[in-house]
């Protein structure tokens, strides 16, 4: 029982890590908490749904569409709106991204209606000894690991990735070194949105798709980056896995309704006890 729970937790956690890494990247580079992260994930899920519905495209293959599309959407949002409030107090950024969030959700409602949609692609489970895992979760986890690894490789090994890390450490110093900070912001928002889109595509096979499906992921991503330490990218990985584990384990003892609150309680507790995160992040 416990083994099953732990593995399910890690499967879910890998997905959380990837989605939260996107939020963490934006927060780390710009100090902007993007409330519209979940709705961007929702758009990714719809991209997959329509491609599957109209063209019969393999949902996992649609990653190559949903990620670039949302990368562009993210950059457009950054250019048009977010770039104007990067240096403003947190009230402006929180409100602005919240405004974007409800606008996106309602645009989706107008365009796609509020009907529940699903991508019926992969059902059934892998059975391994005493354990059983739904196929879609295992595959989602595998993709999440690959995409997260690619993102880390990009951050670690390329000049552009290095520039992103430099800007998140100190914007002024990065600027003095000749890094075009505005461009890095644009890129960070694009990559962050693309990671959200990847999350959307991967959950599209598992859950019902509807315009308000994203908000939960916004909160969970907040929790993950708080757990891991804001601005600490490996921390986001640890945070995601931890959240997945805790949610699965607590679901053994709690009703679904109360389990929903676990993430929030944890969020508040971690903020109070250790606001710099479990791995030391940057206190504001």
């Amino acid at each position: 029982m416990l083994g099953q729970v732990v593995i399910s937790g890690l499967l879910a956690g890998a997905l959380y890590s990837m989605v939260a890494l996107g939020l963490g990247l934006i927060f780390g580079v710009m100090r902007v908490l993007n409330v519209s992260h979940g709705p961007l994930l929702m758009l990714g899920a719809y991209t997959t749904f329509w491609l599957f519905h109209w063209l019969g495209l393999n949902p996992y293959l649609s990653l190559v569409v949903s990620m670039p599309v949302l990368f562009v959407v993210g950059m457009v949002l950054q250019r048009l709106f977010v770039s104007r409030v990067v240096d403003a107090p947190e009230l402006s950024t929180l409100l602005l991204t919240f405004g974007i969030s409800i606008a996106l959700v309602n645009l989706a409602q107008l365009a796609f209606t509020a009907d529940l949609r699903s991508v019926e692609y992969l059902t059934g489970s892998f059975v391994l000894g005493p354990f059983a895992f739904s196929k879609s979760r295992v595959i989602a986890c595998a993709f999440a690991i690959v995409i997260t690894a690619a993102a880390f490789l990009f951050l670690k090994a390329t000049r552009l990735g290095k520039a992103i890390r430099a800007v998140s450490q100190s914007r002024e110093v990065a600027q003095v070194c000749g890094i075009d900070v505005g461009r890095i912001h644009l890129l960070a928002f694009g990559i962050g949105s693309a990671l959200a889109a990847a999350g959307g595509t991967l959950v599209a096979v598992m859950v019902a798709i509807q315009p308000e499906m994203g908000q939960v992921y916004t909160f969970k991503s907040f929790l993950v980056i708080v757990l891991g330490g804001a601005g600490n990218y490996p921390g986001a990985l640890l945070g995601g896995l931890l959240l997945g584990l805790i949610e699965q384990i607590s679901s053994l003892f709690l009703t679904t309704q109360v389990n929903e609150a676990v993430a929030y309680v944890l969020l508040v507790l971690v903020l109070l006890v250790r606001p710099t995160g479990l791995l030391r992040g940057r206190a504001s």
Partner: protein, 306 residues
Amino acid sequence: MRHLFLPFLVVVLVVLALYPIAGTGYGVRFMLQLFMWIALAQSWNLISGLTGYVSFGHIAFFGMGAYTAGILIAKLGWPWLLASLAGGLGAVVLALVIGFPCLRLKGPYFAIAMLGLNEVLRVAVSYFERLTGGGSGLSLPALYASVPIYYAMGLTAVAVTGLAYVIVTSRFGLRLMTIREDEVAAESMGIDTFRYKLYAFLLSAVAPGIVGGLAARDQSYIEPISVFPLIMTITMIVMVLFGGKGTIWGPVLGAVLLFTLQEMIWARFIYLHQLLFGAIIITVVLLMPRGILGVLQQKYNLPRTI
């Protein structure tokens, strides 16, 4: 101009006091809700407009008041006025409990903590079914009391605006604004920042608690999602921002304009009104972050006590 303001204010108050005699049922209920929004916006301004600490879950105090009063009315048969005052007290107790730990958090962390606490409270209310009716809500015995509730809401709105005036023109208010401008500097000048933030936080919880209780009585039915919605926190923030944050009349102006807009125009575009609201938020944040009064203050060199 300035010497005309006080007589103008008196006339407005007298007209509002006499309004229920002539007003229609709809009109009275419209005004009653407007008063509620003024009280909410004004309260948010006390903590966030003055100290800069963004309370992103301020509606928690409204919900706390609504449930405190609702339970007292439905289970113990308290008179609604007394129950609503108890709702205010309940909200202050809540503010005390969460203020101590949370006000030590800075910047976005305080905002997220408040957001999380509001959700925790919402789920907690759904969980204690025996007391709160859980997710299916709590019904209060029927009572038609729009006009008395109108006066109670109105008085609360006036009182909290009066409180804002007293605070903004006092040394206490100056200390709060010093915290907003530069907390470290405030501390080095000998201001016990934590204590003053806590005072402001407690004061900002009273009115939401009271109007929460009044709203519960007015609607005769409350449920977790109707009294702890994030969108109501956002609405009060946008009202303050629109009118001018950190000012006395800004929240009033913002509440009047936005609520009227909501009722008059958005009701006709049911499918679009959320989208319009999103557009308004984005516009206000990008184009007029100082709000109407903030712009006027800067342009005409008005005092901050407007």
